[in-house]
Each structure stands twice: as C-alpha cells, then as structure tokens.
C-alpha cells in the first residue's frame, strides 16, 4: 500500500510537469501585452519597453519557461504583475475560501445524492424513485447561475432567511488564522460567528452542489440496482438479515466504487468550476482570483492559479484511487 502510494506520487511528476508546460504556453499564446495593460493606453512606448524588460518579457520564451519552472520548484509561484506581491502568499486565502465552499457543496451532494440513489434503487419504480430521478434530471440540466440567482431571490430577498453574498458578516468580520472560516471561528471559540459563516455557506453550497448531487444520485441508483440483483444479496437475505442492512451494508459497499470515481471527478471539477457560483455570491475564491487576473493579463497569477487547481484535481483523484482498496479487497496494488 505504502509502496503503491509512493509509486503513484512518483508518476505524478511528469503529469505536473506537463501541466506547467501547457499552462505556460497557452497563456503566452493569448494576444495582448501585459506591460501595456498595466501602464494603460496613455503610457509612453519607452516606459512600456522598460517595464517589459523588468518583467522578463523580452527574454526568449523558452528561457522564460525555465525561469518559471525553477521558481516553481522552490515553491515560488511568482509575483503578481498587478499587485507586486508574492502569489504564494496571496493565493491561500482565496484557495481556502473555495475549498470551504467545495467541501460544503460536496457534503450536500454526497449525502443527498447517495441516499436518494439508494432509496430509488431500493424502491425501484415507486413514486419516490420517479420523483427523485426527475428532480436529478432537472438538477443536472439547471444552469448554476440561474439556480444561484433564484436562491438569492427566494431565500434572501423574499424570505430573508439566509445572506445572499459573501463569506462573513461585514459588521463582524472573522479574524483569519487558517482562512478556513469554519475552523477559524471554532478556534476563536466564537459560535455566533461560526453559525453566521455556516449560513453564508448554505446558498452557494447548494448552488455548487446541485449538479454533482444529481450525477451522484443517478450513478448510485444504477450501481445499486445492479448489485441488489446479485447472488450474495440473496444470500444475505436468506440469512434473515433485515432489508435496511442488506441495502446499506451488503449492497452499498459493493456499489460504491463507481460512485467514488464520480465523487472524485466532481470534487476536482468543483474546485475549478466554482467561478460562476463565486461570482454570483461574491465569494472571494480562487475562481474569481484567476478570473480577475485574466482581465488584467496578470500572467503569473493566471499560471499559478490554474496550476494549483489542476494539482488539487490530480491529488483528489489520487486519493480516490487509494480509497478504492478500502472498499474492495479484490483491488491489489
């Protein structure tokens, strides 16, 4: 197991290297001059030229790449052109905000999705099954921005139950320690603030979690239906086991591997794909961080942001691969 983990980690090196290469060159292929963008339309040609030299933009592109790669290996993600500050220091609060949001979204998606899928399979062709699967179909097809806006309109404006934007109350900001506010408020022992943070997480969490929830529900259902027809389920019933345990113990563990794969992929997609949700809910996450950098042609930030998201995606799927063994003893490493 340890051996396998190490081997898998080793095999990530070329993947990460390839990622850095792609990210670097794709961004250079986009037209537009960052020096001109920073200095504005009215700046003199000489000023722009001297800034280009300062930023290293005049070097051959291969040299630029190796500079970039060398910096990466020392943990230096570069300096933002726009704010002149270190990206490695800047990026964490944004990343933490997105991770917290993605965590809540996946929690909702997995809990509701898996259970809806199980019950749909258990009571196949019942009214519950039909309703759940139609709702899931609507969930997959619903645009996130529309769902987010509807949530804000209904739960914030009409009912005034939940805050519509942001991570925290403006009047009572959270004192950041880890920048994961759920943790920070608990560390500070401020329960009121904790619940405020939870409230802020619900609407964007649901908006972001709806599509994965629907996909997980449908995947769980079809996987469970297959397992529940198998011989060992009949054996479990022949032992006199109650149906609840036959379903949740004997069937679910067997049916979970394809569901786990979907959960892993969706978690990865969520981290990068949260831009829409983050924009609608003014969530200071990594998606927005990258999006704003694109507007300013802040190459280093775009590169690093995408690289960080991609790296997390790769690691989430590594964890999923390792988890397979926990669910199925037949999987050998």
């Amino acid at each position: 197991m340890l051996n396998y983990t190490l081997r898998r980690l080793g095999s990530l090196i070329p993947v990460l290297f390839g990622m850095s290469l792609i990210v670097f060159f794709i961004i250079r292929a986009i037209p537009g001059d960052p020096a001109r963008t920073i200095l504005g339309e009215k700046a003199s040609e000489a000023a722009v030229e001297s800034l280009r030299a300062d930023l290293g933009l005049n070097d051959p592109i291969v040299i630029q790449y190796f500079h970039y790669l060398g910096d990466l290996l020392t943990g230096d993600l570069g300096t933002s052109i726009r704010t002149s500050s270190e990206i490695s220091g800047d990026i964490w609060p944004y990343l933490a905000a997105t991770m917290e949001l993605a965590f809540v979204a996946m929690l909702i998606a997995v809990f509701v999705g898996v259970n809806a899928g199980i019950l749909s399979a258990w009571f196949q062709n019942s009214i519950f099954d039909y309703t759940a699967m139609i709702v899931a179909l609507i969930g997959v097809s619903m645009p996130v921005f529309w769902l987010g806006l509807m949530e804000q309109w209904f739960f914030s404006l009409e009912l005034n139950w939940l805050p519509s934007i942001g991570r925290e109350s403006i009047r009572d900001p959270v004192e950041p320690i880890t920048h994961l506010y759920l943790l920070d408020t608990l560390i500070n022992g401020n329960l009121d603030q904790f619940f405020t943070v939870v409230k802020h997480l619900i609407l964007p969490g649901v908006a972001l979690g709806t599509i994965p929830m629907a996909i997980i529900a449908r995947m769980t259902r079809s996987s469970m239906l297959e397992v529940m027809r198998s011989d060992y389920i009949r054996t479990a019933r022949a032992k006199g086991q109650r149906m609840l345990l036959v379903v949740y113990k004997h069937s679910l563990k067997n049916a979970f591997i394809p569901v786990l794969t979907v959960i892993g992929l969706q978690t990865g997609l969520l981290l990068g794909g949260a831009i829409l949700t983050e924009t609608i809910f003014s969530w200071p996450g990594i998606g927005r961080y990258v999006y704003e950098s694109i507007q300013y042609r802040d190459y280093p930030v775009i590169q690093s942001g995408i690289l960080v998201i991609a790296t997390i995606f790769v690691f989430v799927n590594l964890i999923v691969d390792l988890l397979y063994a926990a669910f199925d003893p037949r999987i050998k490493y």
């Binding site: 060992y232 054996t235 022949a238 032992k239 067997n254």
Partner: protein, 324 residues
C-alpha cells in the same frame, strides 16, 4: 403427518410479464419429513428454484408473487407470515445454499464477518462466542486453517471451499430444514462428491432435513430417501428412491432415467426426451408432458390428471395409471 417439517400444498407462484401472468410453479404439492433428504428433480425451467425461493419467502416481488396454496413449516403457513416473522425463520429454522458458490458470498466482507453475521442475527451470542461458533462451523464442514480463513475474503478461496463456507453459514444456527438448490452443479466432479458426502454427514449428525434440488439423478440416487419429480411447475411423480429407480411410473421419469448414461450398457447414442420443456403457462389444457410423451393418448391432451396415490404409497400424475 406430524413429522412433516415442511408441507407444501398446491403452491402457485406466478410472475407477471408483458405477456400476462406466468405460473412458474403451478400447484406443486410435496412434503419433507424431519431428518430426511428429499430430492426434487427436474429439467431447467420446471420451477425447482422458484419453489425453494417461495419457501424462503425470497421470490423477487415484483414481478413474482405467491398466488395460492400453502407452505406449512411445522404447521405454520409461511405464505401468510409477515416479513418480520420470515426474517426470524430464514437462516434460523430454514437455511439455504445456492448453486453459485463463486458469487454467493459477498466479495467485500471477510468470511468470518459473514459467518458471524448470521449467527448474531439469530442468537444473542457475544462477538467472541459468535467467533468461536463460526470457527467450529468451519471445522465441522471440513475446512482447515480456519483462523486464517476467518480473515480471508471470498476471492481468496476456491469454489469448493466457498461452497463449504456457504454450508457452514447455512448450518450455523442449526436449522431444521436446509434447502440446497443445485449445490454441486458449479463444482468439479471430485469436489461434488466431497460436498455431497459432507451434506449427508451433516444430515445424519445434526438431524437436519434437506430438500435437495438437482437435475442430476446420480446425485439423487446417492443422497436421497425420497424423490419428487417436477415437470412444468408440477410434481409428476413422488416416491421412495428404490421404487422410482426400479419401477418409474410416469413416462417423464422413465425418460429421465433412460437418459442417464449407464457404464454397463454400450449405446451408440444416449437417449434423450424429444422436444423441450414448454414455457411455463404455454400448455393450458391437458397434461403438460403430453406433447413430448410417447404414450400419450386422446385424454392426455384434454384433461389434466391428478396426482394419484398408487398401491405402494408412491404418487403419480398420469392418465396411464388412472386407467388401471
């Protein structure tokens, strides 16, 4: 009468499909006495497995449904029992082993956990005592290195070992009736013999009645005291092993016995009964075997014969014998 562990009377189990309701088991009647081994014999598709699942209350529903008749287990009608009551009976009073040992154990749980699960559902034994009991059961079915085995997963075992585990699991709560649905069909011949011997030993040692479902007449001759021959959802002949092998009454039974290869007689071609088993419910009128029967006459196609008791206590469902 009183020593019937299981008595099935006129049981009908139907499956609904697009073409309407199909009776897989169509008025089957038989009984199993305490401590005996009853063989239920028939070709594929004659309703053997559905009968056993009906007794266990495990007919997949929908589409399956028990439409009539009664299943008396020690006098209690199981067709009327609640699901809760059935759970108490399954695995405890009536246990079952299946045809496919390769797929009948849950691949993601350890053998030990699966054995102890059954024990702990029906007894109040502590985990430790259930473990000891499980170990005992594995030894009883002739497995060795049982403590290692308890920690193994099904995929690490051979087919024969898995079937032994299945038997251990079935026998763990000392059931009064064991239903074995083609327990050796999927195994090698040598392993078949071992498993059958094991079942026979357990039958004698623990006095568990066994309902052995098979299509193998050789197995029946070796194991059983009585036989019920099934055809198209009905029992067509029932009697002691000696009577049926020496003097089969029903043309179908004769056909079955003739189609077993005999080492003493050299034949060019093995006998086979012409035609195929009709689809359940395909024959609405008359004896279901009539279209394939060499001795059929006009009455066979029109009226369905009753199960008739003959002079030596055997029963047969055939107009030939009604005539006598």
């Amino acid at each position: 009468m009183s020593n019937h562990v299981l008595e099935v009377n006129d049981l009908q189990t139907c499956f609904s499909s697009k073409e309407g309701t199909i009776p897989a088991v169509n008025g089957i009647t038989f009984h199993v006495d305490a401590g005996e081994i009853l063989g239920i014999v028939g070709e594929s598709g004659c309703g053997k497995s559905v009968t056993s699942l009906s007794v266990m209350g495990l007919v997949p529903s929908p589409p399956g449904n028990i439409n009539g008749g009664e299943i008396l287990f020690n006098g209690e009608d199981l067709t009327k029992a609640t699901e809760k009551r059935m759970r108490k009976i399954r695995g405890n009073d009536i246990a079952m082993i299946f045809q496919e040992p390769m797929t009948s154990l849950n691949p993601v749980y350890k053998i030990g956990d699966q054995l102890m699960e059954g024990i702990r559902i029906h007894t109040k034994l502590s985990k430790k005592k259930a473990y000891l009991q499980a170990v005992d059961m594995l030894e009883l079915v002739g497995l060795s290195r049982v403590t290692d085995l308890m920690k193994s997963y099904p995929h690490q075992l051979s087919g024969g070992m898995r079937q032994r585990v299945m038997i251990a699991m079935a026998m763990a709560c000392d059931p009064k009736l064991l239903i074995a649905d083609e327990p050796t069909t999927a195994l090698d011949v040598t392993i078949q013999k071992q498993i059958l011997n094991l079942m026979k030993n357990l039958n004698e040692k623990m006095d568990t009645a066994i309902m052995l479902i098979t299509h193998d007449l050789g197995v029946v001759a070796e194991m059983c005291s009585r036989i019920a021959v099934m055809y198209s959802g009905k029992v067509v002949e029932e009697g002691s092993v000696q009577d049926i092998f020496r003097d089969p009454k029903h043309p179908y039974t004769k056909g079955l016995i003739d189609s077993v290869p005999d080492m003493r007689v050299k034949k060019d071609r093995l006998y086979s009964i012409p035609g195929n088993v009709p689809k359940p419910g395909a024959i609405k009128q008359g004896c279901a075997f009539a279209p394939r029967c060499g001795q059929a006459f006009s009455r066979c196609a029109k009226e369905t014969p009753e199960l008739l008791e003959t002079d030596n206590g055997a029963k047969v469902r055939c107009w030939l014998h009604h005539e006598q």
